[in-house]
Every structure is written in structure tokens, then in C-alpha cells.
């Protein structure tokens, strides 16, 4: 506030000379109406509020609005969709795809996050010790992050191609028969999860690595003086002290993984059949994947996903609060 006042006064006297001009005399300021500051506060907050309402509240509200009406294209254009209440949600829950989509989402999310986190943490601890070439090596691990998703997903689907893929040629050299990675309902979900794990490791690596920087070196020194080995140091120092960072990594990873569409869409389009259809893919397919956009059920599925993410967000906050209270 001081800076503002100074700038203001400066502009008044010398036409924007800068902040080194002395502040305006206080008696002049006392004449201001006290409630004027509230208007000023609102004035300052207004651009932010407008932005929030325009880009966050409105889309959310619109998504809910879509999901409780029956929007076909005609209704979408003319804006006269019938209000159907929970009907879209009832249809989603009773759909034959729902159980499979839910199970696929759970598998895809949990397995992806578990491996991304474990491998990311292992790499972060590994790179904590400086050694020759550690910086360029660490940079290499960020590659999945730098590639456009469509490139990495297409590359994975070429590598996993049943007939000409490099993975199968490699396995065949060891006498393993052809595995239909992406075209068999048994392995397709595993394959897209594998690709997604690879994509998510750098994210975990970066966040956990920066978390490690905050653990004081002398704690490790003291531990090694007490005779704790590397394994003991990890479980007694690194892991507990990294807990807050781990929690936020897992939460963000969960939100990211829940809404993954691109990787799966490029690799299998949710198929074969619906064996790689997650909730996010299902929503995308209803809205944009067929010749007939069904915005209402798509929005309903989307809202379910938002609720799930929100639920885990609340759990995270609760845990954090409990930790701080301790």
C-alpha cells in the first residue's frame, strides 16, 4: 500500500517521477471516506472475479446445466432442451459400459500412479547423489514430458504393434509368441497403462527431486554417524520427511490420470470393444467420438469425474490438516 501511495503522490506532483518522491501529507488522506476503501478493494478484485466467473464458474455451471437437460443438436442450437433432472445420471449408472469403465478407470489410475510414483521416487533418490553426467542423464528422463502427447502415444502404438512392433520382434527373439498388445481385450488396458506410466515418471521425478533438496544434509550425516545404512536412511529420513511432497504428487497425479484421454484415444480409441474405455474416454466418445454428439450424457460422466477428483482433494486437505495439528 505504501508503494501505491507514493507512486500516486509522485504522479500528482512531478508526473510519474518514481517511488522515491515523499508520501503525500497524512492530513489530506484522513479526509477520505472510510468506506471508499471497500469499493477500491472490489475494484481491484473485479478483473480477477470477472476472470474466475467467465472461465471457471460459467463452464462448471454449463456442464451441470448440460447434464440435467436432454441436449440433442436441435435443442443445443435452439436452446430449448427438456429438463430431465437425474435422468442422464440414471442412464449412465445403469449403462452396460459403466461398470467396465469404472473398473478400467480404477485400474488405469491406481496402477499408473503406483508405478509412476515408485519409479519417480527411486530415480529422484538416485539422482540426489551427484555423479559425472548426472545432470544430462536427469534431463534425458524428462524427455517424455517434452514430446507432444500425440507423438509419444503414436510411437508406443507402433512399438506395440502385433505384427511389426519392435516389442514383439524382441520377444520373438526369445521364443515368445506373438502378443496382441493393443488388439486383445486381455492386454490392451495393460498396454495403454504401460505407456501412461512412462509418460508420468518425469512429473514424479521432478517434484520429488525438488522435495529432496529441502531435506537438510546434516540429518543424513548424523544418521550415517549413528551407523544407519542407505536402506535405513531412506525409510527413516527420506520417506517420512518427503511425506507432504509425496501427498501432493499423488494427488496431482491422480487428477491428471483420471482425465487422460489423448494417450488412450490415440492408441486404441477405447477399444477393442470397450476394453480400454475409461470414464474420460467414455465422456469424450459420447461428445465427440461419434457422428451424433450426445452432450448431456458426456457432461454427466464428466461431472462424475470432477466429483471423484474433488473427493480426493478433500481427503488430501483433511490429512494435511491433521498432520499440521500434530
Amino acid at each position: 500500500m505504501t508503494t501505491l501511495a507514493e507512486t500516486k503522490a509522485g504522479r500528482g506532483s512531478t508526473g510519474g517521477a518514481g517511488s522515491d518522491v515523499p508520501p503525500a501529507p497524512p492530513e489530506k488522506l484522513r479526509r477520505r471516506r472510510p468506506h471508499g476503501t471497500r469499493w477500491a478493494a472490489i475494484g481491484f478484485a473485479a478483473p480477477l472475479l470477472v476472470y474466475l466467473v467467465l472461465f471457471y464458474v460459467y463452464p462448471l455451471w454449463r456442464n451441470i446445466d448440460l447434464s440435467i437437460h436432454d441436449y440433442n443438436i436441435r435443442a443445443f442450437v435452439q436452446g430449448d432442451a427438456d429438463f430431465v433432472g437425474w435422468q442422464n445420471y440414471v442412464e449412465i449408472f445403469s449403462s452396460s459400459i459403466f461398470a467396465q469403465a469404472l473398473a478400467n478407470t480404477a485400474f488405469f489410475t491406481i496402477v499408473s500412479i503406483a508405478f509412476q510414483f515408485a519409479l519417480g521416487l527411486a530415480l529422484a533418490v538416485f539422482f540426489r547423489n551427484y555423479f559425472p553426467l548426472s545432470a544430462p542423464l536427469r534431463a534425458l528422463f524428462l524427455m517424455p514430458w517434452l514430446l507432444p502427447l500425440i507423438v509419444s502415444a503414436s510411437t508406443w502404438s507402433w512399438m506395440l504393434n502385433s505384427e511389426n512392433g519392435i516389442v514383439n520382434s524382441f520377444l520373438e527373439a526369445f521364443g515368445v509368441g506373438q502378443i496382441n498388445w493393443l488388439t486383445s481385450p486381455e492386454t490392451a488396458l495393460l498396454s495403454v497403462t504401460l505407456a501412461n506410466i512412462w509418460l508420468g515418471i518425469p512429473f514424479c521425478l521432478v517434484i520429488l527431486y525438488s522435495g529432496l533438496q529441502n531435506i537438510p544434509e546434516d540429518v543424513y550425516e548424523a544418521a550415517s554417524l549413528d551407523g544407519a545404512g542407505a536402506w535405513r536412511q531412506f525409510w527413516s529420513i527420506t520417506f517420512p520427511l518427503l511425506r507432504p511432497v509425496s501427498a501432493i504428487t499423488l494427488l496431482l497425479g491422480l487428477v491428471y490420470t483420471l482425465k487422460v484421454v489423448d494417450v488412450i484415444w490415440v492408441m486404441t480409441a477405447g477399444g477393442p470393444g470397450s476394453s480400454t474405455t475409461t470414464l474420460a474416454i467414455w465422456s469424450y466418445r459420447e461428445a465427440f467420438g461419434t457422428g451424433q454428439p450426445d452432450f448431456s450424457p458426456a457432461a454427466a460422466v464428466g461431472n462424475i469425474l470432477i466429483l471423484v477428483a474433488l473427493l480426493f482433494g478433500v481427503i488430501h486437505l483433511q490429512l494435511q490438516r491433521r498432520q499440521e495439528a500434530r
Binding site: 469499493w39 488388439t183 486383445s184 481385450p185 480409441a269 477393442p272 470393444g273 476394453s275
Partner: protein, 418 residues
């Protein structure tokens, strides 16, 4: 120190920022309204971003505008985006004057009351082949004119067929095709490839076999339909086609074919130039029906349509623009620009064959072809199609037998369409 700043000026500044935002959006709306008024500018949307400003195609569109005494403002989107943009524009009340729309989308948009009929515009469609215009018909009204049509046929690799001792002329029905594929496999190459991906492309590729068995889209689990799916399933199981067909898009199948290891590929008119450039000699035959003869393949290609305008005065110029694009010479020019779009009128087809008689197989394939939304299926088609490609995927990947997969598909269609 809290109250040490000029309230009045800050509030003014904040308000100025807000009004700036408001005026931005206001300016936008005005600009778009400007296009809508009966000025000398007509808007034109098409799905050909590959033809940029200054290309032959763009110049031709402009010439048609000049002949009608107006300037045309052309915008190109990709196919899916174009349909969505047309819907959004109609919602905002600033539809373009002319849209080149993918044919299955015509019935979706006309059912939604977005498109004017050819009668309203005063256009004559009597010269257009009835099987091609059918995709734009709904409840007795016609909503556009096809500017060209493409469809599917079987390209073959002459070298591979020769090595296997297969004469392409001997492939006249499913049995002879299967035995040709077996011969090719025995000679050490792959028989054939097609696209069974879980999108509209999958249904598009399956339809020639589905219709070729005599099956009908209103009855997905008929014995004929099951036979068509069993044909594909048998090929996959016997290794006559690669397992990758389950996940192949049409582009992928073409790349597979260009490796030179495949006897046949099911693909479309749009690959004619690429086939001519292949490193091996190629040929093309029409897709055989189950018991001989030619199977109806689905039509692809765009319709020229005119979204409804508030200002009906505009229709007269719109009609002139459309007529300019759909003369026999215009059709041939379009055909050549898009390598190759078969003209939808007999006169146009004759003119094209005079220039390039190699396209004869394609002209006859287009004459046999059938619109996906024909038979008054209209907006039911996308629902049916989604179930159909899912059934194909389920059967080919082995999670259900063809019979089970199609029964489930039919049950889902009935549940959804009531």
C-alpha cells in the same frame, strides 16, 4: 496507512479495465453481425485446409462468388471441427451462407432444423444420381447436393498376386476372394488388410461386406450380418489378414499396403494418386458381394449445403454460387482437384472418363454405392454405426462370437432408439 491511496482513480482504472473487456466482446459480435448483413460478402466453410488461400480450389470458389457479384470469405476447418463449428454458429445466429458438409452429417444437421432445403433455394437436383443424393434426403426433403463422391474398393499389388498365381479377375465372390487370400498366404505374403478401428472408419470399412451379404442396418443380428462378420473373423483367425486390422485406421492400412507385402487392401478413391506412385504396379477391383456381383460400398464425400439464414434475400446469391460449383465442368474440376472425387451426375462422370478412363472402376463403384444415412435412417445411423463398430471390435478381438456381438449390438440399438 491503509487509506493512503486515491480511491476515485483506482476505481476508475478498474472500471476502465472491465469496460475494455466488455467492449472487446462487443466488437466481436459486431464484426460477425457484419458478415450476416446483406453486404457484398458471403461466407463459405469447407473441410479442405490443405487448399490454402491462392490455391486452385480457393480461386475457384472466389470465381463463383465474382460471377454472382459478391466476394466470398472462405474458412477451412477439419471435417469434425466443421460440423461442430456449424452447430455453434447456428446457435449464435451467424451461420455461414454455404458449407461443404461430410455426407453423414447432413441428415444430423437437417434434422436439427439448421439447413434450408433445395426447394427453398430453388435448386434442381434431378440430374444427380439418386443413390448419391439419398444421403441428403430426410422425410421427403433434400438438403443439399453432393459435390463429388468417393467410395471403397480393393486395391491389389500386381507383383504379389502374380507370385501367388492369383488372377484378380477371378475374384468375384467371397469364396473366390478367400481362396485368393489363401494362395497369397501360401506364397509367403500377407493376404489383405483393412481398417476395423473403433470409430466411424471401422463401420465405413465393414459396410461393403455387411451390405454385400444382404444384411440391413435396421437388423444388425440377422443371419446375413452374422455371416459378414464371420467372414472377417475367419480371415483374422486364419491369419489371412494381420491381427492389426482391429486397430487399423484407413491411413494405417494404406501404409501397410505400401510396404509391398500385402495382396489386397480395402481403401478409397482418395488413394488413386498414391497407388500410381507406389513402388509396385497396382490395380483395383470392386468389392465382391457374398454370392457374386458387386457389393454396395458406402459413399463418402461432401454435400454443398446452405444453412438457414434470417435474411432470406441472401438465398438468391447462394443459389447462384451453388449452381456455379455444380455444373458438369465444375464437377470434373472438383474431381481433379481432389484426386479423385467422382462427379455425382452422369454428364459429369462421362466428362471425367473422357479425360481419364482409368477411373472406370471407381465410377461404377460410385454408381453401386449407397449412402450410410440412406433408407431414411438419418440420425439413427450414428447410433447404429457405433454399435456396429463395437460389435466388429468385440468379435475380431475374441471377446465375443460374431453372433453374440451382433445380438448385443442390436439389443443396444433397440434400447437407445426405442
Amino acid at each position: 496507512m491503509r487509506s493512503t491511496f486515491h480511491t476515485a482513480t483506482t476505481v476508475t482504472a478498474a472500471l476502465a479495465a472491465i469496460s475494455l473487456l466488455a467492449s472487446c466482446s462487443g466488437g466481436d459480435a459486431e464484426g460477425e453481425d457484419g458478415n450476416g448483413a446483406a453486404s457484398g460478402t458471403y461466407t463459405w466453410w469447407d473441410p479442405y485446409p490443405q487448399h490454402e488461400e491462392g490455391s486452385d480450389w480457393a480461386n475457384r470458389v472466389q470465381t463463383c462468388g465474382e460471377e454472382a457479384g459478391v466476394t466470398i470469405e472462405r474458412t477451412a476447418y477439419d471435417t469434425t471441427a466443421l460440423t461442430n463449428q456449424t452447430i455453434l454458429a447456428a446457435q449464435e445466429g451467424n451461420s455461414p451462407d454455404v458449407v461443404l458438409l461430410d455426407n453423414p452429417a447432413v441428415s444430423t444437421l437437417s434434422e436439427s432444423g439448421l439447413l434450408s432445403t433445395v426447394d427453398e433455394l430453388g435448386l434442381d437436383t434431378s440430374a444427380v444420381d439418386p443413390n448419391l443424393v439419398a444421403a441428403g434426403e430426410l422425410d421427403g426433403e433434400t438438403y443439399g447436393i453432393p459435390i463429388g463422391a468417393n467410395t471403397l474398393a480393393l486395391y491389389y499389388n500386381e507383383d504379389v498376386l502374380e507370385e501367388a498365381g492369383v488372377d484378380p479377375a477371378s475374384v468375384t465372390d467371397w469364396a473366390s476372394l478367400t481362396s485368393a487370400l489363401e494362395d497369397i498366404q501360401a506364397s509367403g505374403n500377407e493376404g489383405m488388410t483393412f481398417a476395423g478401428i473403433g470409430t466411424e472408419e471401422g463401420s465405413f470399412q465393414f459396410l461393403p461386406w455387411f451390405w454385400g451379404s444382404g444384411a440391413d442396418l435396421t437388423d444388425l443380428d440377422s443371419p446375413e450380418a452374422v455371416e459378414a462378420l464371420e467372414l472377417w473373423k475367419g480371415w483374422v483367425d486364419d491369419g489371412l489378414v494381420p491381427n492389426t486390422v482391429i486397430n487399423n485406421s484407413q491411413n494405417t492400412t494404406w501404409e501397410e499396403f505400401l510396404t509391398g507385402n500385402f495382396g489386397f487392401v480395402e481403401n478409397g478413391t482418395w488413394q488413386v494418386n498414391s497407388a500410381a506412385d507406389a513402388e509396385f504396379p497396382t490395380g483395383v477391383i470392386e468389392i465382391p458381394a457374398q454370392d457374386g456381383g458387386v457389393a454396395p460400398a458406402p459413399t463418402g464425400g461432401e454435400f454443398i449445403v446452405a444453412p438457414i439464414q434470417d435474411d432470406v434475400e441472401r438465398y438468391d446469391v447462394t443459389r447462384q454460387i451453388v449452381e456455379c460449383m455444380t455444373t458438369p465442368e465444375g464437377f470434373v474440376e472438383t474431381a481433379n482437384t481432389f484426386a479423385y472425387y467422382i462427379p455425382p451426375t452422369e454428364e459429369g462422370q462421362d466428362a471425367l472418363l473422357e479425360e481419364n478412363e482409368d477411373l472406370e472402376t471407381w465410377v461404377s463403384a460410385v454408381q453401386e454405392a449407397k449412402g450410410r444415412t440412406s433408407d431414411n435412417l438419418g440420425t439413427d445411423y450414428p447410433v447404429i454405426s457405433e454399435e456396429l463398430w463395437t460389435a466388429v471390435q468385440n468379435a475380431l478381438s475374441g471377446s465375443a462370437t460374431p453372433q453374440e456381438a451382433l445380438e448385443e449390438a442390436q439389443a443396444n440399438v433397440e434400447a437407445e432408439l426405442g
